[in-house]
């Protein structure tokens, strides 16, 4: 069987946990039905068969808790500027992004920081994916 790609909204792990706990509670009370499990399955599919998304976060230092100075996101349905409806960064820290399912795939390029006299690029850039 050929799997159809599922490029729906990203399903955070926290949402999956909530759905599973909900199923457990329904199981305990005898209310669990097939549709509950199929909804859970859809969420799992969306989480695992989704197109890779990229998040760039520039910080003021190599410290992961450092001040976020720039952001961009390349994910279906998301503003590429990495902002919310109020114009603020989607994540105030790198940690918040990781809590939302992003994994670091590239740490800041230290070669660029070796030049004593000049500065290159915007801050220190972490690249994340999910």
């Amino acid at each position: 069987m050929q799997l159809e790609p599922v490029f729906g909204h990203y399903v955070p792990m926290a949402t999956l946990h909530h759905q599973i706990n909900d199923c457990i509670e329904k199981l305990k009370s005898g209310q669990l039905v097939e549709d509950d499990l199929r909804a859970l399955l859809t969420s799992v599919d969306q989480r695992h068969r989704r197109k890779q998304s990229l998040l760039y976060i520039q910080t003021s230092s190599t410290r992961p808790e450092g001040e976020v100075v720039g952001m961009s996101i390349f994910e279906d349905g998301k503003d590429p500027d990495g902002i919310d409806t109020d114009g603020n960064f989607l994540y105030q820290t790198l940690e918040q992004a990781m809590d939302d399912g992003w994994r670091i795939i590239k740490f800041p390029e230290m070669v660029l920081a070796m030049d004593e006299q000049h500065n290159y690029g915007l801050g220190y850039e972490f690249i994340l994916e999910r």
Binding site: Y56, Q58, S60, E67, V68, V69, G70, M71, S72, I73, F74, P80, D81, G82, I83, G87, F89, A113, H118, N119, Y120, G121, L122, G123
Partner: protein, 313 residues
Amino acid sequence: MNSSSSANDFEATAAPTAPYGQTFDCQPSLTDRQVADFCREGYLILPSVVPDDINQMVVDYLDSVDDPVRQGTEPTPIMKQPWFVEGVLKNPQAVGAVRSLLGRNITLPVIISNHRGSLPNHSSGGWHRDGGTIYTHRLDYLQVFYYPEQCTPEMGPTEVLPGSHFLRAKANMMAHYGKIDRTVSTAAPAGSIFLTVYGIWHRRTRATVGPTGRSKFRNLLKYNYWRTTEPTRDWIIDPQFDFNSFHFITSTGVYFEQFQNAFDAAHLFCWLCGIGDQFQRLGGQCWPITSTVRDGTNQMGIPPALRTGSTED
């Protein structure tokens, strides 16, 4: 002229030739502090300096040449219109600032570009520095922008990143940048002109409003002035200005190695003063980073011509 003016109407008022690249002189209008501010931030916004009647004629002209054949994106022949040359290119407040930064006998532009943005435009332009940028502590030319109509935040004004004229990057390697903190919007009233160091990072922001104003487009003219003389401190000198306590660190200093942009800005300022050879970066707590010195103390390494109590010109 009015909103239905045609290109033929403007041909009737055109001079036989345009003053492309001609030199001219005027009085400087910036003070020591304003020149130092420009060195640090890399831009200067002059709101509402062009009179409304000139602004309206510019908009009419741009609308009359709005097609590719007539080079709507590069309406350089507008320089054949004497009212444009006098009212915009030689606008007293604008060229007073240009003259302060580029010295005597500056050249008029040789091309005029128009960033004519459709309204709305739901995507922003990418961050970039303009092609031809070099990183230097010289200032031999200025990139100047002019809004002939009001440009509100909803009309996609250009935003700039202060201090980024010393932040090295290739334009193609900036394309993935999105929101950057501490940027400055150039949203401004009609007739506003802003000057930048050529290599400053900038982008068009998204336009969320539909066709607006007289033109129904966001028009933003762009052109360069060039230096023809060696730099010297011949702007408005303020005898009370203290180069020891001036804060050369920009609001985006956090994007640099600590104090790095202050050294760059101070070096540029020294070059403009004609004392580039006096600039030295001693290391440690040297000029210009020790701006909290007290009681008229000179920072270590401050150029002799800028020392408190200096009698040098």
